[in-house]
């Protein structure tokens, strides 16, 4: 049996009387490519917010590599190897990609509080940042201010920032949201090309993309896990067709 | 030492009511749009000068000038909102602070240019002067009038928010702006109307304040501090919070001046810092 990278046990969260996450038990094996699907309002982003610590659960536990991280601050979870991207671009608009990713690398290396030395002294950190950018095909625009970048490039920078934290588990919240359909494949090609040791969980609406890139699919409905299984099992599941595929005409 | 205690409590509450009328508008507009309006007391000052001018130059009765003060401040705020504020709703805190502090500066200079820097004299009508005695305790008539006005304003505001269509729209927008827009509520127009109402109340407060604290061009800044303290201590967007905070600050301020004059304004600043450290969103704040 493979090692478990990320696990949730009985994770629940309410907003007032509304249960947005209900008793969610998941386990992601190391190196897995999991897709999280479900209709709008199923609680997909909420689940990622719970895992990364932007929200506190009302009940349940989150374990990263077997260690309980439920009580940790978001940045402490990042330090332990749990990174995420955002559905709506959450970037450093006034920095250029090189600066932004260098910042993330410096934070990871614990040198971001050095106020006495010129940043250019940190050759290794800068080169590491540039390598990440080059891998995500951002090398040619790395000196342009982020807010001036084309939208698709900004989506890639979302991923670059997360990768700079050297995550063990990466949660991608609709990495291709807002990108024209013909380009969204490019973004997922990049995602698919990431290291095999990295455990991935991504939210995506486009079923073509999901079936192409995921090794395993989790269906979330009304805040609870409706079912999970391999792409073949999910596409054959009549229940999923009914609650999700059939109703929403995706794919 | 009972009588001084009650006297202080009464004066403090009356003062608190005045502060409530001055600040409640800012609380609602801040809660609605998160717009930091440091020129709020400039509208109050405008109301004050309208009343002074109408009473002293045109010999209007004092009570008749109060609606005029309200309308003048509301109209001025509509103009500013339309041409300046509206463009900065999504701007940074800093830009909002700078723009509105700029208007506050301008208001001080304009008031000094037109009216001079001296305190404006005003004569309250006969029936509001002096004091009345109940159960052996003397209550200032004007202060009782203030409390009465504040209660009327509070009741009207709460009833308006609870039972009118407009009130429902305002509540929806304060609660969740995106959802309100989704429901087809014109949040921008709701805000403009609320803003005018809030500024009008500030104008009314400015007119009522003359008798108690006087009126000179520095009003825009002196009372801005009080108003901001009440808004942040009470919690943004909460009428009940502003009411409670205004009572708390009014009583603390008067009690501080009476029992510990050497502390000066120390006490209210301390109250604010302590409350905010304990509850950053204010006593009744949700966010």
């Amino acid at each position: 049996m493979t090692a478990i990278a990320l696990e949730t046990r009985g994770l629940s969260r309410n907003f007032g009387s509304l249960a947005v996450s209900r008793d969610i038990n998941l386990s992601l094996p190391v190196g897995a490519r999991y897709a999280l699907i479900g209709p709008n309002g199923a609680g997909k982003t909420t689940l990622i917010n719970l895992m990364t610590g932007l929200l506190q659960p009302n009940a349940g536990q989150i374990l990263l590599g077997g260690e309980d991280i439920t009580q940790l601050e978001p940045q402490a979870r990042v330090k332990r190897g749990l990174a995420r991207t955002f559905q709506i671009n959450t970037l450093f608009a006034g920095l250029n990609p090189l600066e932004a990713v260098t910042l993330a690398v410096c934070e990871r290396r614990g040198i971001a509080d050095r106020f006495w030395q010129n940043i250019a002294v940190n050759k290794d950190a800068i080169e590491e940042a540039y390598e990440i950018l080059a891998k995500l095909k951002l090398g040619d625009v790395c000196y342009q201010t982020t807010r001036e970048l084309p939208y698709g490039r900004q989506r890639l920078l979302e991923i670059a920032l997360a990768l700079a934290t050297k995550p063990k588990v990466l949660l991608l919240d609709e990495p291709a949201a807002g990108v024209p359909q013909e380009e969204s494949g490019d973004i997922f090609e990049v995602v698919a090309g990431l290291s095999n040791e990295l455990t991935l969980l991504f939210i995506e609406h486009d079923m073509h993309v999901v079936f192409r890139f995921a090794t395993h699919i989790i269906v979330l409905v009304g805040g609870a896990v409706f079912t999970e299984g391999s792409p073949a099992q999910i596409s054959a599941d009549p229940g999923v067709r009914e609650v999700y595929l059939g109703k929403r005409h995706h794919g | 030492m009972l009588p001084p205690f009650f006297g202080v409590l009464f004066d403090g509450l009356a003062y608190g009511m005045l502060l409530f009328v001055l600040s409640v508008g800012l609380s609602v507009t801040l809660g609605l749009m998160n717009f930091v309006n440091l020129a709020h007391c400039a509208f109050a000052m405008l109301g004050g000068y309208v009343t002074v001018t109408l009473v002293n130059e045109f010999h209007w009765p004092f009570l008749a000038t109060l609606p005029a003060a309200f309308v003048a401040a509301a109209l001025a705020s509509v103009v500013l909102e339309r041409f300046f504020y509206r463009r900065l709703y999504r701007a940074s805190d800093l830009d909002q602070v700078l723009l509105t502090i700029g208007f506050a500066f301008i208001s001080v200079a304009v008031a000094a240019y037109i009216f001079g820097t001296l305190q404006q004299p005003i004569q309250a009508p006969e029936f509001l002067r002096g004091s009345s005695t109940f159960l052996g305790l003397a209550f200032g008539n004007y202060r009782m009038f203030l409390i009465g006005v504040a209660i009327v304003v509070t009741v009207l505001l709460i009833a308006g928010l609870e039972y009118t269509r407009f009130g429902a729209q305002v509540r929806a927008a304060v609660d969740n702006q995106r959802m309100a827009r989704g429901l087809g509520i014109d949040v921008d127009r709701t805000f403009a109307a609320t803003f005018a109402l809030g500024s009008g109340l500030a104008g009314l407060g400015g007119a009522l304040a003359i008798e108690i604290v006087g009126l000179d061009p520095s009003f825009s800044f002196t009372y801005l501090v009080y108003v901001l303290i009440i808004v942040s201590v009470g919690g943004l967007g909460s009428i009940a919070g502003s009411f409670a905070a205004a009572c708390l600050i009014g009583v603390s301020d008067i009690a501080g001046k009476y029992y510990a004059p050497e502390l000066g304004a120390f006490l209210i600043y301390l109250v604010m810092v302590v409350v905010l450290m304990w509850k950053p969103a204010g006593l009744f704040g949700k966010r």
Binding site: E73, P74, Q75, V78, K79, A83, R84, T90, L91, F92, G94, L98, E99, T102, L103, A104, C106, E107, R108, A112, D113, R114, F115, W116, N118, N122, K123, I126, E127, A129, C142, L161, A162, T165 | L30, F84, R87, D93, V97, L98, L99, I101, G102, F103, I106, S107, V108, A109, V110, V225, I229, V231, L263, A265, F266, Y269, V273, L276, M277, P280
Partner: protein, 329 residues
Amino acid sequence: MSQMSAPTNPQAYLQSLSRWRPIEIVFWLATLLPFFLFPDYLSLASQIAIAALFALSLDLILGYAGVVSLGHAAFFGIGAYSAGIFSKLVWGEPLTGLVVAAILAGLVGYASSFIVSRFRHLTLIMITLGLGLLLHEAANRAHWLTGGSDGLQGVSIWPVLGLFKFDLYGYTAYGYALAALFICFLAVRRITNSPFGLALRGIRENWVRMPAIGAASRAHIRKAYTIAAVIAGIAGAVLAQTTETVSLESISFQRSADVLVMLVLGGAGRLYGGLVGSVIFMIARDQFSGIAPQYWYFWIGILLVMVVMFLPNGIVGGLSKITARWRRK
């Protein structure tokens, strides 16, 4: 920013951002001009240098880290009172006085940074305003220590390094203030080009994203706030030492508002913004308030509205946009 000389190597690119540009050298040489061209205005020049130093310290937290403060004069005032009282109680040697003032301002800054770093938006503005007003009131009430509203009297400062006496014309005063400004500027310039400076800009650009890249934003803000307090304390101390008096005005809301105006007028987050802004602000005030002091704030108000509506990055930001456009042609 420097598309024209985009180097291929990322390290060289980041290095190039911190290189001294010719215009900077011209600027600093120009600060020496008052000695020769306007010897009658040296005391104004030293006031400008002090204001510029104060604006520089605010720039570090507001311009770089995006922390809006309406109470920054608290640290200026602590520095001023510390230096003044130190000269009365201990001795009049200026450099030790400066160090003591910087340390005290830094300690208070460090203590309050634990409060400040927890808040954003209106609560932050109110907390900084409230702490500033508290200290102002404390200085006002502690008459036995500060002289209250009469100001601190009897400050007497020895010659700098035992050589340069503070003269009537202000030669020493301006030289002293300028030296303090330049040394602190070098320090701030280095900070803005450091990994820490980058982290501060990250906080300004996106407070929400910082935890998601594993950053300890609050620790960064605490550190920046403390450094800014130290520099503001030095600015206050220089004022106390060069004028040999400390007034309540040095810790007032007015001074907090003035420095904010200077900074945004020049352009926040641009290192030279506060310097340019304070030169223009102080000279304008010197000229205008001679005519009609009570209307000075009318023009400041108009200026603020104009800057927010039409010149969002201040004068320095506007100029660099114009030169960038001109270069592209």
